[in-house]
């Protein structure tokens, strides 16, 4: 079995939610908020919310889409916002650009809805990230499998979802190490194709472990 030169270091993450000073009561105000809020706020309401609500696999994608659906009552716009897939983005700027474009185009096309009051206001918050090492590393596929199996939800989320922004690549920590550390590019690609929107973190992890097991049986 291959030994990686650079070990995979398992870490975990914890987020503090900081309350911002912007809020929105209409779609037009949501657009203004999206244009001016911090990057940490866009991250909080898209990437981070996907981690903290991972058990919802039907129709929940990000906080903006959920607010537009449940409070602003605009199903069509909610669908468009929910369709934005964080895996397509390696920078918050690009994600913010698309969020603003979708909401802006909608407000332009339906100006009478843009100023309509929502049931509840949307409050912009931010995530403050604190990472800590778990003191566990892997050099082989067996050790790697064992580490993943023992990760908390937050640790799994950190390596599998939020890592895309850190790496600035359309991949995740696991796939990155499998390809670069162990040279297992096919396995790395398969892992990267696991759908984080239709799977929970638990079912994503199960799929990942099954893929690793298949590879272990092969070698």
């Amino acid at each position: 079995m291959n030994n990686a030169e650079t070990p995979f270091e398992f870490v975990t993450v914890s987020y503090l939610t900081r309350i911002g000073n912007q809020s929105a009561g209409t779609l037009a105000e949501l657009l203004t908020g999206l244009e001016h809020c911090s990057d940490a706020s866009i991250f909080h309401h898209t990437f981070q919310t996907l981690g903290s609500h991972h058990f919802l696999t039907e129709g929940f994608s990000n906080d903006f889409a959920q607010w537009v659906l449940a409070d602003a009552n605009r199903d069509d716009l909610a669908e468009q916002l929910a369709a934005l897939d964080v895996r397509d983005y390696v920078s918050i700027a690009a994600l913010r650009g698309d969020l603003c474009r979708v909401v802006g185009e909608y407000c332009k096309a339906f100006p009478h809805f843009a100023g309509q009051s929502a049931l509840e206001r949307f409050y912009f918050c931010e995530s403050t990230e604190v990472t800590v090492p778990l003191g566990r590393s892997a050099r082989t596929l067996d050790e790697f499998r064992d580490g993943i199996a023992h990760l908390s939800h937050a640790g799994f989320y950190f390596h599998f979802i939020s890592s895309r922004l850190r790496l600035r690549l359309q991949t995740n920590d696991f796939s990155h190490w499998l390809a670069d550390g162990l040279g297992l590019r096919t396995l790395a690609d398969s892992v990267n194709r696991i759908d984080i929107y239709t799977n929970t973190l638990d079912s994503s992890r199960e799929k990942l472990l099954r893929l690793i097991d298949r590879e272990r049986r092969r070698v």
């Binding site: 914890s14 987020y15 503090l16 000073n21 403050t128 023992h150």
Partner: protein, 409 residues
């Protein structure tokens, strides 16, 4: 003199069995850099009330992680607690005539406590308005002080808030249960949720025989639909509105309504509301109005577990932990979209939100017509609580805050 509280040990392994080893390993990893650093929690009551209930469970957990966390309780006379009760109500928006005498009493007791409490920990967490002025005792140096506000500050009495704000703005951060409750302050504000303990008497698994015994005691038929609201008899919990919603539901479904809350005997306003509730119930044998003892966690647990649907039709709410309690038990919940409830109930995902008597009745009818959807909501609600509103998550948030402050992030 301050009270240093000693609490029963709760083995971390008991939580690992419920939450998984990975979650406990994560807590240990977060706690490790904080070992040997002092933390102090200060509030104004050792027993009774949500804060004391949470701290009672939080401290032993911290101890399991080998953290030096202390809990001290400030002391005060009757005059102090009368003033702070008026402040509490005023901060919730109740009418209040501001008097210099009240402010003086508040300051005098805070000053007295400053000399008695240690207040020298590296991380000091002050809970609620009563001890807020202890910040005056902060020694110059690098220790961190944060203020945890458990109450709804969305419509505070101006004079009381202006008075408190002078102290609050001197902390390093403030924590609120909902973004709606936050204020314009020059310090960072964080979202901190209250939490339930899955191993406490109120939330632990119960023997079905005990549940049956509780139902029999209160003459509730386990074979028929049971709608339940657990809340003290308070107009802000809208028990009369719950009865009106039940009456609409009753036109379509055979059901019973349980309204259970603490005894109103020592609460003059509660006694008046209880009378209003009984009048509205009009001797309907299917409406059970239960005055429970002040501390009846096992009965509350049993009633929640026996319910078909749990209701929380509050008009205003700080957080409404009864919602998390019901969700933890995988119950479908219909609740008002007020205060911290929408954080717990993500509409159509972890429960149903409503805005009126008619809306509440409609959502109950919908769930009774679609038990498979009700079951799914209960299942997801349980996951949501597991992820966000358990005592272990609360400790994790505190550790994250302390680490973040220590690292200057």
């Amino acid at each position: 003199m301050s009270e240093i509280l000693t609490l029963n040990r709760i083995p971390l392994q008991d939580y690992a069995e419920l939450l998984g080893e990975g979650e406990i390993e994560e807590l240990r990893a977060l706690a490790k850099p904080l070992r040997g650093r002092s933390m102090e929690m200060i509030n104004s009551t050792a027993v009774g009330g949500g804060v004391a209930e949470i701290l009672t469970r939080l401290l032993p957990l911290a101890e399991e992680l080998e953290l030096a966390m202390q809990w001290n309780v400030m002391t005060g006379g009757e005059d102090f607690f009368e003033v702070t009760k008026s402040f509490h109500n005023a901060l919730h928006g109740a009418p209040y005539h501001a008097s210099q005498r009240d402010f003086d009493i508040f300051l005098a007791y805070n000053e007295r406590n400053r000399t008695k409490l240690p207040l020298d920990a590296e991380f000091v967490v002050i809970h609620d308005p009563q001890p807020a002025a202890l910040i005056e005792a902060r020694a110059p140096g690098s220790n961190h002080w944060v203020w945890r506000c458990h109450i709804d500050l969305s419509h505070p009495h101006r004079a009381v808030w202006d008075f408190l704000e002078k102290f609050v703005s001197r902390y390093d951060g403030a924590m609120f249960s909902s973004p709606e409750f936050s204020k314009q302050l020059p310090i960072p504000q964080y979202l901190f949720y209250p939490a339930i303990d899955p191993l406490s008497e109120k939330n632990q698994e119960l023997d079905p025989e005990f549940i049956a015994e509780v139902l029999a005691r209160y003459q509730i038929d386990p074979q028929r639909t049971i709608l339940t609201q657990i809340s003290r008899f308070d107009r802000l919990k809208d028990p009369v509105g719950v009865i009106r919603a039940y009456r609409i539901v009753k036109r379509y479904f055979d059901c019973q309504l349980v309204l259970a809350g603490g005894s109103a005997s020592d609460d003059p306003e509660g006694a008046i509301v209880l009378k209003e509730v009984l009048r509205e119930a009009n001797n309907d044998p299917d409406i059970k109005v239960l005055e429970l003892p002040a501390w009846a966690p096992l009965e509350v647990n049993a009633l929640q577990r026996a319910s078909t649907i749990v209701i929380q039709k509050s008009l205003r709410e700080g957080f409404g932990l009864t919602v998390s309690e019901a969700l933890w038990k995988k119950k479908p919940v219909v609740a008002s979209a007020v205060g911290g409830i929408p954080v717990q109930i993500i509409h159509k995902h972890t429960g149903m939100l409503s805005h009126s008597v008619e809306g509440t009745a409609y959502q109950i009818r919908f769930l009774l017509s679609h038990p498979e959807i009700a079951a799914k909501l209960g299942e997801r609600g349980h996951q949501h609580v597991k992820e966000n509103f358990l005592i272990t998550q609360k400790l994790k948030r505190y550790l994250t805050l302390f680490l973040s402050m220590a690292r200057g992030t």
